[in-house]
Structures are given as structure tokens and as C-alpha cells.
């Protein structure tokens, strides 16, 4: 297990290095000059040249790459062109919005999806199953940003229960911050919950057909207890896989949702940075997201091993 974990982490690191090369190469050939963009239409050539020098845009690409990657390894992601402050600092501020958002929605989607999926599986073919899976089917088809719009107009503008958007900052109080993240989290969570509920149901159905379920039933355990004690843990394996994949989707989803709710999170940061050609910020955020996805995949692998003893002895 330890050897497996070590191998997994090593692979993760190699993937990360390759990803960093891809990111840097891809973004270094961007057509467009950040200095020109920053100084605007009436920029003077001298001012432009000065700014380019200051930004280090005149150095060779390879040197900049190694500088960048070495910096990142030491926790220095460089300085934002537009904010003229350290990228790590910017990211640090934004993570406090994006990470809670992703976690709340992950929690919500799991809390909704698992019971619904299990319930539907236990009522297979009955009206409760048909209705919940029909709802899930529609949930999968709804674009989250459209759902977000509906939520805003319903809960913020109409019922005035929560803010329509924006983020007061955590120093405005935990509750105020949570309230601001609630609608975005719901908008993100619902479509994911629909997918997860469907996966949970089919995983449960698959497991319920296994021989060991029959063995457990032959022990005299009632159906309900077999469902929770024997089926659920086995059904968690595909559910975990999907959860891992979904975390990546959630991160990406925050880019859209943070724009709908104008939350100052990583998604907004990267989106703004793109339009302002603030490449160092783009690169930093992309690397962070990629690293997160890789880390989550490793966590999912650990989760597999916790759930399934067969995988604990894996090489």
C-alpha cells in the first residue's frame, strides 16, 4: 500500500511537471502584449518598453520557464502583471472563496445524491424510482449557469433570502460568507447531484445482484440491513470514481458560476486574467487547479483502498 502510494504520488508529480511545461508553452505564444493592454490605447512607446523590461518579457522563453517553475517549487508564483502583487497572494485570497464553494457544493451534491440513489435503487421500478430518476435525468440536462440565473431571480431578487451575488469577505462573519456562497453552491451542486444519484443507483443495483448479497440474505439479514451493511460499501467504488471526476468538473464549474454570481474566486481570477493577458496569473491558477485535480485523484485512490481491502495490497 505504501509502495503503491509512493508510486502514485511520483506519477502525480511527473504529470504535474509535464502539465507545467504544456501550460507555459501554450501560454507563452499568446498573441498580444500585456504591456500594451495595460497602458491602453494612447500608450507611449517608451512607457511600453519600460513596462516590458520591468515585467521581464524581454528574457528568453526557456529562462523564464525555469525561473517560473523553480519559483513555484519554492512557493513563489511570480508577480501579477496587472495587480502588481504576488500571484500566490492573489491565489491565497481567492482560494478562500473557491475552495469553500467547491466543498459546500461537493457536500451538497453528495448529501442529496447518495440517499436519492440508494432510495431509488431499493425501490427499483416503483414510482419513487421512476420519479427520482426522471428528475435526475432533467437535472443532468440543465446547464448550471441557467439554473443559477433562475436561482438568483427566485431567491435573491424575488424572495430576498440571500444576496444576489458578490462576497462580503469572511471577516464580515462566517454566516454572511456562507449565505453568499449558498446559491452558487446549490447551482453547482444540483447538476452534479443528478449525475451522482444516477451513478449511485446503478452501482447499487449492480451490487445488489451480486452473489454475496444472496449469501447475506441467506444468513437471515433483512433486505434493508443488507442494503446498508453489504451493498453500500461495495457500491461506493464507482461512486468514488465519479466523485473524483466531478471535483474536476466542480473546479471548472466555479469559473462559470463565479462569473454569474461575481464571486471573487479563482474562476473569476483566471477569467479576468485571461482577458487582461495577465499570463503569470493564468499560469499560476491553471497549475493550482491541475495540481488539485491530480491530488484529488490520489485521494480517490486512497479512498478506494479504504473502501476495498483488495486494493490495499496493490503494487
Amino acid at each position: 500500500m505504501l509502495a503503491f502510494l509512493a508510486k502514485r504520488i511520483a506519477i502525480g508529480l511527473v504529470t504535474l511537471v509535464v502539465a507545467s511545461a504544456v501550460v507555459f508553452l501554450v501560454l507563452e505564444i499568446v498573441p498580444g502584449d500585456p504591456a500594451l493592454l495595460m497602458l491602453g490605447m494612447n500608450a507611449q512607446p517608451e512607457a511600453l518598453a519600460a513596462l516590458r523590461e520591468e515585467m521581464g518579457l524581454n528574457q528568453p522563453v526557456l529562462l523564464r520557464y525555469f525561473g517560473w517553475i523553480a519559483g513555484m517549487a519554492l512557493g513563489d508564483f511570480g508577480n501579477s502583471y496587472t495587480y502588481s502583487s504576488p500571484v500566490l497572494e492573489l491565489i491565497g485570497e481567492r482560494v478562500l472563496v473557491s475552495l469553500p464553494l467547491a466543498l459546500i457544493s461537493l457536500f451538497l451534491s453528495t448529501a442529496i445524491a447518495l440517499p436519492v440513489g440508494i432510495f431509488a435503487a431499493s425501490r427499483r421500478g416503483k414510482p419513487a424510482d421512476t420519479i427520482s430518476m426522471g428528475a435526475a435525468q432533467i437535472g443532468v440536462a440543465i446547464p448550471n449557469f441557467w439554473f443559477a440565473l433562475i436561482l438568483i431571480y427566485l431567491f435573491a431578487v424575488w424572495l430576498r433570502l440571500v444576496p444576489a451575488g458578490g462576497f462580503p469577505g469572511w471577516d464580515a462573519g462566517l454566516w454572511a460568507g456562507f449565505k453568499a456562497l449558498l446559491l452558487p453552491a446549490i447551482a453547482l451542486a444540483l447538476p452534479q447531484a443528478a449525475i451522482l444519484a444516477r451513478v449511485t443507483r446503478s452501482a447499487m443495483l449492480e451490487v445488489l445482484g451480486e452473489d454475496y448479497i444472496r449469501t447475506a440474505r441467506a444468513k437471515g439479514m433483512p433486505r434493508r440491513i443488507v442494503l446498508w451493511h453489504h451493498a453500500l460499501r461495495n457500491a461506493l467504488i464507482p461512486v468514488l470514481t465519479i466523485l473524483g471526476l466531478q471535483f474536476a468538473f466542480l473546479l471548472a464549474g466555479t469559473i462559470i458560476i463565479e462569473n454569474v454570481f461575481y464571486l471573487p474566486g479563482l474562476g473569476r481570477l483566471i477569467f479576468q486574467a485571461i482577458t487582461q493577458r495577465d499570463l503569470i496569473v493564468v499560469e499560476g491558477v491553471v497549475m493550482l487547479l491541475v495540481a488539485t485535480v491530480i491530488a484529488v485523484n490520489i485521494l480517490v485512490d486512497i479512498g478506494y483502498a479504504i473502501v476495498d481491502p483488495r486494493l490495499r495490497t496493490r503494487r
Binding site: 499568446v30 498573441p31 498580444g32 502584449d33 500585456p34 500594451l36 493592454l37 495595460m38 497602458l39 491602453g40 490605447m41 494612447n42 500608450a43 507611449q44 517608451e46 512607457a47 519600460a50 513596462l51 520591468e54 496587472t82 495587480y83 502588481s84 502583487s85 492573489l90 485570497e93 481567492r94 440565473l149 438568483i152 431571480y153 435573491a156 431578487v157 424575488w158 430576498r160 444576496p163 444576489a164 451575488g165 458578490g166 462576497f167 469577505g169 462569473n259 454569474v260 454570481f261 461575481y262 471573487p264 474566486g265 473569476r268 481570477l269 479576468q272 482577458t275 487582461q276 493577458r277
Partner: protein, 493 residues
């Protein structure tokens, strides 16, 4: 639909009742569209910086007033020599920066020398191009010598790019701005908001607000709910679009339609076939239906213009009748120019809605007279690179938001590729003239020249749609300069 409205109306009343209970607030949340890249107005062209800090936190020697007039600020008074080349400013005494350091003539000299230095990153270096030397006479007096007379010099000193900074804090202004204004910097939650608080040691009349938060609300989709839910109480420039009609009918809010310095034009590459032919440009001018373009731009506000000049300016002349909407005439002119069947061209559109939506309306209108436009949406960076820098374009739509910028038509390397010696002469004369009447006359001549040359398709002046809580007093209706001057703003009770 009606029921929706009545329910919303009901909710509105509830909120109105709720806020009425609060007496004389001293805090204000102002919505701004763009977040500033940093907080130093002397190191970026970004209007977002001035919109937060100008007049509130930073001050210049002069300031631009509500209606575009030049008023004294850190300079109490000034004298101009007869040849118009020497300006002597008497500075206000007892002024301190927010970090406690004293303001004096050395700070002014530092600021101006820094701005015009070789390695300056000031985005508007040309403002200071005329300065020859800056001389400290005594701590309260400074003399500026110009190499040539410049009529707009006092106005130029009122720009946000010319605010006075202290040598002690100049380098850190980007993160922690230190100025002389009635508000001082509190915090900047990046991506979200910039907060200013009242400066208790202000040299002038103290402001009514204790706290002003400038919250970044990027687009209409976010702005409307934010306004309706009361999160934001004022939008000096509301990206409201069509939803404005709904806000206008809401008694909680005041909608102030003012003028901006943003001339929205169909920029034309005068150096390229067939646009180098004045008949073609005139045909385009005749083909444009300004009313429809304005209507298609959402709010329906916006003043039609016939030249590159703000209707808010005292020197403005209405030239919209130069080439009135007349598709038949346009076709005829095209035929005269040798294009009886029209021609094909491209229209590059930067991201703002006025360009993307307006561009589709323009394309539809030009199609009526036989000009087929291929719409090419571009990002700002591409626009700057392709259109602005490399002049690789046929037509484009852009709003020129710099104040009083008609002189760009005199620049040879400007992206319009417009070259008219007569116009340049007028500009040179303008620079040499300080008399107000004379200057107005020259401005008007300049407006007429470019209108008649149909250099660009002159469409409309971007409206400044200010929306704020009805109980808020003292907000600026016009924006003669990119700023939100809060010195006179207070809550009525």
C-alpha cells in the same frame, strides 16, 4: 408577467419601508464595472483607478468640476505669463499626506518630473510633453515653464494621471495609495472591492460619508440583482441595458442620464481602399441610422453625434445633420465612387456590448445599401494588436472615452490613417491659444472638418447612466472626467 411585476412591486415597498427606518447613513457601496489593476493613477491608463481614487483619495494641482470646468485643488491660485509659457502656482498650506508627511512644492516637482521622465510608466505622458522645467520657488510656490504655449495645460493638470504623489509613498501607491484627499485607503479585497474611509485630518471641508466601498460588479447580469437587493446603493455608470426601464419605474432609485466623454464611432481605415474615397465614407455616413443603433444598444439612451466631440462640452456643435440617414443617397454615392453593387469589407468588434450589438445593427444597415460586412469579433488584446497598433482593419466600432481627445485626428500614426494638413493646423493653433472664446471657435472648426470629411462613422455619445438610491444626494450626473467625486455625497434622512 403582470403578476410578477406586482409581486416584485410588493417586495419593493417592503424594502422601502425597511430602509426608511434607518437614519442618515454614513456608508455607501458604489458599484464599478471594472476592477482597478492597481491603485496608482499615475502608472496606468485604466479608468477604474481614477473612478475610485480621483478627487477622493488623490488630488492634483487643479481639478475638473462637475461640468468639466477647471477648478483649483492643491493649487490655491495661479498666474500665467502673457506668452502663455510660464505658470506660477500658489500651493495650499497645511496639507498633509495620509501617512502624515507634509505636502509642499517639492512633492509637486517630484510628481511632474517623475511623470515625464524617460522611464516613466505614466500612461498619459503627452499631458506633460509641453513642460520644459519645473522650478521650486518656495515651499508654497512652484513655477512651470512650457516649451510652447499649451491652452489645455491647466485642464491637463486636472487629469487623474497628474495627481500629486509624495516621494516617500510613490513606489507603494499601487498597493497602498497615499494621497491628500478627503478619503484614505482602508483595504482592497482583490477581485471584489476597494474600501475608502474618511480622512479625519483633511485640509478642506470634511466629507459626510464615513466609509465608501467600491464594489466590482462586472456586468448587467450582476448589477441589476445587486441594485434591486440593496447590496449596492449607487452605480455611477450602470451597465443596465434594457433593464433600465424597470429601474426607472422604481421609486427607490434615481436614474440620471448624463453624458460621458465616450464618442462611439465606426472607426474607418482611411488609408485603405475603398475607404480612402471620401464618397464611400459619406455613403457609410448616410447609411447609418443613429436612432436605430442607439435603440439597439439596450437602454435606448445615448446622444447622436455628428463629429468627435462631447455634447456636454461648451464647444460642442450638433453636426448630426451633415450626412443624415438616407440609404438612397448612400447608394447613389457608392455608385459615384465606382461601387454600384456595393462591396465587401470586414468589421472588427471588440468585446463591449455597444460594439458587439451595435456592430450587428451597423452591419444590417450597411447591407441595405449593398455593403456586405463580415463581422469579426476580437478580444481587446487582439483589437489593440491588429487594429490599434498594426492598423489591419477595414471598419471597427469603439468608444473613445478619453476627454477632449479630438487631437487624435492630427496624429499621423493614429489608427484612423487620417491625414489632413488643414486639421493639423487647427490643432496647432489651438495649442497656441489660451483665450476661451478663441479656443471654442477653433474646436468648432475642428469638429466640422472631420465631420465633413466623414473620417469615421460618428454614431453616438455613450450615455452615463447613473443609478442610485433616491435618498443619496450629491452624485455626479455627468462624467466630464473618469471619476466618481464623492466629496459632496451624503444620505438624506
Amino acid at each position: 408577467m403582470n403578476t410578477i411585476k406586482s409581486i416584485i412591486g410588493g417586495a419593493t415597498l417592503l424594502l422601502a419601508a425597511g430602509t426608511a427606518a434607518l437614519a442618515a447613513r454614513t456608508d455607501l457601496v458604489i458599484g464599478v464595472v471594472l476592477e482597478p489593476p492597481h491603485l496608482d493613477p499615475t502608472a496606468s491608463a485604466a479608468a477604474a483607478i481614477d473612478e475610485i481614487l480621483y478627487a477622493n483619495l488623490f488630488q492634483g494641482l487643479t481639478r475638473i468640476g462637475r461640468n468639466g470646468e477647471v477648478l483649483p485643488a492643491l493649487a490655491e491660485s495661479w498666474e500665467v505669463s502673457d506668452d502663455g509659457k510660464t505658470y506660477t502656482f500658489k500651493l495650499r498650506s497645511g496639507v498633509t499626506f495620509h501617512d502624515g508627511t507634509t505636502f509642499d512644492a517639492e512633492d509637486v516637482k517630484f510628481t511632474l518630473d517623475r511623470a515625464r521622465a524617460e522611464n516613466s510608466t505614466n500612461a498619459q505622458k503627452q499631458l506633460f510633453a509641453a513642460i520644459d522645467t519645473v522650478e521650486v520657488i518656495d515651499p508654497q510656490t512652484i513655477r512651470i515653464m512650457l516649451s510652447a504655449p499649451q491652452g489645455s495645460f491647466l485642464y491637463n493638470l486636472g487629469w487623474g494621471d497628474a495627481v500629486i504623489v509624495a516621494p516617500e509613498s510613490a513606489e507603494t501607491n499601487k498597493e497602498k495609495p497615499i494621497g491628500t484627499g478627503p478619503f484614505k485607503f482602508d483595504k482592497w479585497a482583490k477581485g471584489s472591492s476597494v474600501t475608502l474611509v474618511k480622512n479625519p485630518d483633511y485640509w478642506g471641508e470634511p466629507v459626510a460619508l464615513e466609509k465608501a466601498e467600491f464594489r466590482v460588479v462586472p456586468d448587467a447580469a450582476a448589477a441589476i440583482p445587486a441594485l434591486l437587493s440593496g447590496d449596492v446603493q449607487a452605480f455611477p455608470q450602470m451597465p443596465a441595458g434594457d433593464a433600465l426601464s424597470q429601474i426607472e419605474n422604481d421609486p427607490r432609485f434615481v436614474v440620471a442620464i448624463g453624458a460621458t466623454e465616450g464618442e462611439t464611432i465606426l472607426s474607418t481605415n482611411n488609408g485603405k481602399e475603398p475607404f480612402n474615397n471620401i464618397k464611400v465614407r459619406q455613403a457609410i455616413a448616410h447609411a447609418l441610422n443613429r436612432e436605430e443603433i442607439i435603440a439597439g444598444n439596450g437602454s435606448g439612451y445615448g446622444t447622436p453625434i455628428g463629429s468627435h466631440f462631447s455634447p456636454a462640452n461648451e464647444a460642442y456643435v450638433d453636426l448630426t445633420g451633415t450626412y443624415p440617414y438616407d440609404p438612397a443617397k448612400a447608394k447613389a454615392l457608392l455608385a459615384e465612387a465606382g461601387y454600384p453593387d456595393g462591396f465587401k469589407a470586414t468589421l472588427k468588434l471588440p468585446p463591449p456590448a455597444y460594439a458587439r450589438d451595435g456592430g450587428q445593427v451597423v452591419a444590417s444597415q450597411l447591407r441595405q445599401v449593398g455593403i456586405e460586412l463580415e463581422i469579426i469579433p476580437v478580444e481587446w488584446a487582439q483589437w489593440l494588436e491588429q487594429v490599434f497598433k498594426n492598423k489591419d482593419y477595414d471598419l471597427t466600432i469603439v468608444s473613445h472615452t478619453e476627454p477632449n481627445d479630438i487631437n487624435i485626428y492630427a496624429r499621423d500614426d493614429y489608427y484612423f490613417n487620417y491625414k489632413n494638413p488643414a486639421f493639423k493646423e487647427v490643432m496647432n493653433a489651438l495649442d497656441a491659444t489660451a483665450e476661451p472664446e478663441k479656443r471654442i471657435e477653433l474646436y468648432q472648426t475642428a469638429q466640422k472638418i472631420i465631420a465633413e470629411d466623414a473620417v469615421n462613422g460618428f454614431m453616438f455619445q455613450l450615455p452615463k447612466i447613473g443609478v442610485w438610491d433616491a435618498k443619496l444626494q450629491g452624485m455626479w450626473e455627468n462624467s466630464p472626467i473618469q471619476a466618481n467625486d464623492l466629496t459632496g455625497v451624503k444620505w438624506s434622512d
